[in-house]
Amino acid sequence: MTLNSDIEKSFIENEIIGLIIPSVKYEEILIMITDILSKNYDKILYISINKPCESLVSGLKKRKIDTDRFHFIDCITRTKKNMLSTENCTYISSPGALYEIHYAILDVLRKQEIDAALIDSPSSLLRYYEHMDVLKFMHLLTTELIVSRCKGIFPFRKESARQVRRSIEMFADKVIDIDAGSEFSV
């Protein structure tokens, strides 16, 4: 079984999934994950803590991933320039505005039928918040995703935030620890 099919199967069988990804392959594997999501679900929420929506969309389009299926929550662009939210993207004032991020997620979950939510990445929040605050936020988020019947996908860089990862594991159905040598296709 390739990593692609293993991940795809896990998404089908579980609600809350953690992925531990070696840093060197993080971006590539994340693209593979978004590709799997776009092929299997109608509407996906992509919460980006530190990547601008514009560059995310252009990167995904280059890989021929259908970006129309995604609603983005962009936490970084408005720290550089003022942007008004659009139909497909909600701009947050800063990654440090946890309440604003939380409210935006709830708003999207309430207004749209989201099938899966990807947060890229929970460990990025540690630059702005204490470990406990991130953990409580993530815990609250998993509960809200379950209530909304929405899958939650939490990718982590293997080399970072070990304690947060371990804690979130308690509220996950499955955690996939990806080996640096795993074969996959994008």
Binding site: H131, H139, T143, S167, E169
Partner: protein, 132 residues
């Protein structure tokens, strides 16, 4: 009218570990009223320190705590030959999922109780655990 005093065995000692002092106080009151001797700890470190001096039969452990979380404290307890057999129940604000349940079993956790607690359910579950 006679006062009803419930005498548990000398071994009926319970430790409550929670970073919220109000939770520790509340659970302490409830369990003391049931006749247990209750020790409070407001962090994982305090729990480990107190356990070295005061053995207990049961620990009620909060999951989310700053510094060292509940899972890590339990792992340390299970690795310590003089503490490893203590009964432990998790206190949590929400239900654990599939992987979480596997971890509870790996850590030999007896049960978990969700907060806010239902007092009568809480005391009856603690009683059942202590009678085992």
């Amino acid at each position: 009218m006679h006062e009803l005093i419930i005498y548990h065995s000398e071994m009926s000692r319970i430790m409550i570990v929670d970073d919220e002092p109000d939770v520790v106080e509340l659970l302490k009151e409830i369990l003391e009223a049931e006749g247990y001797t209750v020790i409070g700890a407001e962090s994982g470190y305090e729990c480990l320190e107190k356990l070295e001096k005061e053995p207990v039969d049961l620990i009620l452990m909060d999951f989310f705590m700053p510094g060292i979380d509940g899972r890590m404290v339990i792992e340390k307890i299970r690795k310590n030959p003089s503490l490893k057999d203590i009964n432990i129940v998790f206190l949590t604000a929400a239900a654990f999922k599939k992987r979480g349940m596997e971890i509870l079993s790996e850590l030999d956790i007896l049960d978990y109780i969700t907060k806010p607690i239902d007092v009568s359910d809480f005391t009856s579950r603690i009683k059942k655990i202590m009678e085992k």
